[in-house]
Amino acid sequence: MSVLHFSRRRALLGGLAALTAAAAAPTAWALSQPQRANGRLLVVFLRGGLDGLFAFGPTTDPRFAELRPTLSRPLLEGGLLLARSGFAAHPALAPLAELYASRELSFAPCFGTTDESRSHFQAQDLFELGNGQTRGASGWLARAAQAAGGELRCVGFGSEQPLILQGAAVGRVELMPLAGAARQVRADRALAAIRAMHAEQASGAAIEQALATQSELDRLGGMDPQAARGANGVAGFPKLAARMAQILRSDPRLALAFIDLGGFDTHAGQAASLGRSLPALAEGLLALREGLGDAEWRRTQVLVCSEFGRTVRENGTQGSDHGHGGLALLLGGAPGRLGGGRLLGDFSGLAETALYQRRDLPVRLDWRSVLGRLLQESLGFPSATLTEVLPGMPGLA
């Protein structure tokens, strides 16, 4: 109920809600919920703006077919019904529909940030900063790693440090490239000098981190030179996910994890490109679950989302343009308050009056309220900590 309550309030308060609601939010919520401090949160961020309605669509809404004459077809012809929601999943997402049935997955069709620009980059920054602004000194996951402190580890799978992981104290966030050349830094006399030269600088901490990661990955069987290079395309996700699961399982202290996948900016010929991406996404999530095994899966929550959703109306080239509210998936073996085979937030249909600026899905579930809930459940963060990690969070989902 708090979700509904919150979103109505947000609608009343309008755009400034993010800034003003934090003070008014009932802070007792955080403490009244069951905590599972021994959990893990993995964020799978789909860059490019996934067309959520193509993945999980409201097939019972008569406007669905009308607004999306070609893009609605896969769901109307072969969609898998998601009980009690009025939605169906794209046939390529059959494994996810099964997880929904077994109450290991829930979904929010109108999840998102306060972005108004419809810019990929601004919306991604907003999501990753988590401070309600488009600029900031650190990403929310880095702040969460900082707040978790102690023994807990935070890892980004990839070789570039995304904004979400920037700004934490040295060593709080680790990067593990899973793909790429398997050649290693050689431990020779030069390396000793290089470490000494960089010792006092940010680059020195990065080198030390890299050497530690290198030996850890080495112990776990090295990198996979066959996997995709550089930025992670979704096609390589199943392989990467299996490897991620192996790494996460190897150390229970790995409590926060992040990976981003590209290839969701589908302005034209979307059915074909998402027809390739969605199976890889589903297969990867399944590989993750299998790789983790039951016990680890029970202490893991996975958030899958994108920087924004796309236009409700199909565009003129069998694709969709940049929109607002989008799809979030929550997976895990022991769903908390947000888990377990249901639709999160609310959904008020596709009538033009229900849309954001008469074209996009509205945001009914603020990203920070979801992140806050997940951090509270996974790491036991008290509300004061949540306010530090997610300034302006308008209450917990």
Binding site: L175, A231, G319
Partner: protein, 528 residues
């Protein structure tokens, strides 16, 4: 800053007339001050891809202003061996040869199996796929080889800056065949020293039209949409290019445009697209059609209605002419000057440039009608820039690092191994023409300083120092041993420049390849 340089220009007109030494306070805007050795090295790492001994000697004593003019207007030479490699590259084929083969409706079809299958490939590739891969790899490799070997490195840096600003993805459908021509087209526009020329060069190039999905964007009430409707198909608008034109190419995300402007611009550019090889001549020459190279404006797809873009009314019925008007409007918008000034200052000075300097650059952009050299003038004349040349502090982007390390290792030996550079740039995460998102690569420390990135740099330094990398290898093979660059300590020291006390102490006692690896991976060499 500007008023100071302006005063000098008034006082003595052209630089050649200023033979009489001026009092120190007046004579030396930093832009007119000859570079000393330290500044020359820093300059070559800023408006170039690193220093070797010959380029250092050639740059000492030059002024930033002169070097900037040379970067825009001056000739570019490559070592003869490399020039031959570039001339023989598949990517050197003009678009007039490639388009009839691979353009839409071209003769090289998807389903013709390749005459010679690539090694280690399990699936049968079509000739088209094989050719596409070869052409794109060649385009990327040639751009890297040119950047690495040029005698006018400032030109290469500016060209790469604008290629990255108007970023395309070489792997998007037919862009494999178009990427090299896109480079040449932007290069020609850069020579015009005009932002509008660059904007038009990019917009009217098929590679941009393809990349941002404009080629099928169609007005719902156009003739073509009506014809399609009779067949039961729906055609309509695609906003992608219009949005990125505003957000990335011109005004910037904070430039004050709204969703309605995105939609208006998307309508204005309906009809812009590419030429189909099988389009009947009557359609190509139809009233209102416009062909520019292989860009084609098809009036049958255009929205001829009235529009309003950023407060300016576009009367109905103008057709392709209104695209030119719109591009000019965007290029002249004050937000565009601010956006570009900030981006240039971040690339060439610091991650957080002084706001007053950025404002001066934006004003210069506006006053000069968008001249690139004029926009950079306040930067070159600023005391901040002069100071930064004496104490370089900006973290090198991967491309800066790769090419400057290779230049130091080869010290004038021609670098012809495109395959090495192409793979290394990809591994480091900054291969030209291969950024998948339209924002281009970042230039900030936060974009690039990570543990994984540092590991790659250390590894590259170790590999280069080993003296076993065949950087000089010609495409046709030849003697592999003769093709390696064996770095010389003196050359690498000259490229790296002065070291901090900490670095000097750490290097004490090292020699041979250990010293070279450590120098190339030193904190000093990672910054520019």
């Amino acid at each position: 800053m500007l008023s100071r340089s302006g005063a000098i220009l008034i006082r003595c007109g052209l630089a050649v007339l200023c033979a009489v030494p001026l009092p120190a306070a007046l004579a030396a805007t930093p832009g007119q001050t000859p570079l000393d050795a330290a500044a020359a090295r820093a300059w070559l790492n800023r408006f170039g891809y690193g220093a070797d001994r010959a380029s250092l000697a050639a740059t000492v004593g030059q002024t930033p202003q002169h070097l900037l003019q040379r970067a825009i207007h001056g000739p570019v030479h490559y070592p003869p061996a490399l020039a031959a490699v570039l001339a023989a590259s598949p990517a050197a084929q003009p678009l007039s040869v490639l388009w009839p083969l691979y353009g839409p409706g071209g003769s090289e079809k998807m389903n013709q199996p390749a005459r010679r299958q690539p090694e280690q490939s399990e699936v049968v590739r079509s000739q088209r796929e094989v050719d596409g891969r070869e052409l794109l790899q060649a385009a990327v490799a040639d751009r890297l080889l040119q950047s690495a070997n040029s005698d006018n490195p400032g030109h290469e840096v500016l060209l790469n800056f604008w290629l990255n600003h108007f970023s395309i993805h070489g792997l998007k459908t037919i862009n494999q065949f178009l990427a090299a021509d896109y480079v040449r087209t932007l290069q020609a526009a850069l020579r015009e020293d005009s932002f509008l020329a660059l904007l038009e060069a990019s917009f009217y190039h098929p590679a941009m039209q393809v990349y941002l999905d404009n080629i099928r964007s169609t007005a719902p009430d156009s003739r073509m949409a009506e014809r399609a409707a009779r067949r039961g198909e729906t055609l309509g608008i695609n906003e992608n290019l219009a949005r990125e034109l505003l957000e990335l190419h011109t005004l910037g995300v904070d430039g004050g445009y709204r969703q309605a402007d995105v939609q208006a611009l998307a309508r204005i550019i309906t009809g812009a697209g590419i030429l189909n090889n099988r389009l009947p001549p009557a359609r190509v020459e139809a009233a209102g059609a416009e062909r520019r190279g292989y860009f084609f404006f098809d009036p049958a797809r255009h929205d001829f209605g009235a529009k309003r873009l950023l407060g300016v009314d576009y009367p109905a019925g103008r057709g392709s002419e209104e695209i030119r008007v719109a591009l000019r409007q965007l290029a002249q918008h004050p937000a565009t000057g601010r956006h570009l000034a900030g981006k240039l200052a971040r690339r060439f000075l610091a991650d957080e440039p002084p706001p007053a300097l950025v404002a001066a650059m934006a004003a210069a952009f506006q006053r000069s009608g968008g001249r690139i050299s004029a926009t950079l003038q306040p930067l070159l004349d600023s005391p901040e820039f002069a100071r930064s040349l004496q104490a370089p502090g900006k973290f090198k982007e991967p491309l800066d690092y790769l090419l400057s390390a290779a230049r130091a290792a080869c010290d004038g030996q021609p670098m012809a191994n495109g395959r090495f550079f192409w793979r290394a740039a990809q591994e480091l995460g900054q291969a030209p023409l291969l950024r998948s998102t339209p924002d281009g690569y970042g230039s900030q420390e936060a974009d690039w300083l990570s543990s994984a990135a540092l590991a790659k740099r250390v590894r590259l330094a170790q590999d280069l120092a080993s003296g076993r990398l065949p950087l000089a290898q010609m495409p046709e093979g030849g003697n592999r041993r003769a093709a390696v660059c064996v770095p010389q300590a003196a050359a690498v020291r000259a490229a790296v420049g002065p070291l901090s006390a900490t670095s000097s102490a750490a290097l004490a006692g090292l020699d041979g390849s250990d010293e070279i690896a450590a120098l190339l991976a030193s904190p000093e060499f990672m910054r520019r």
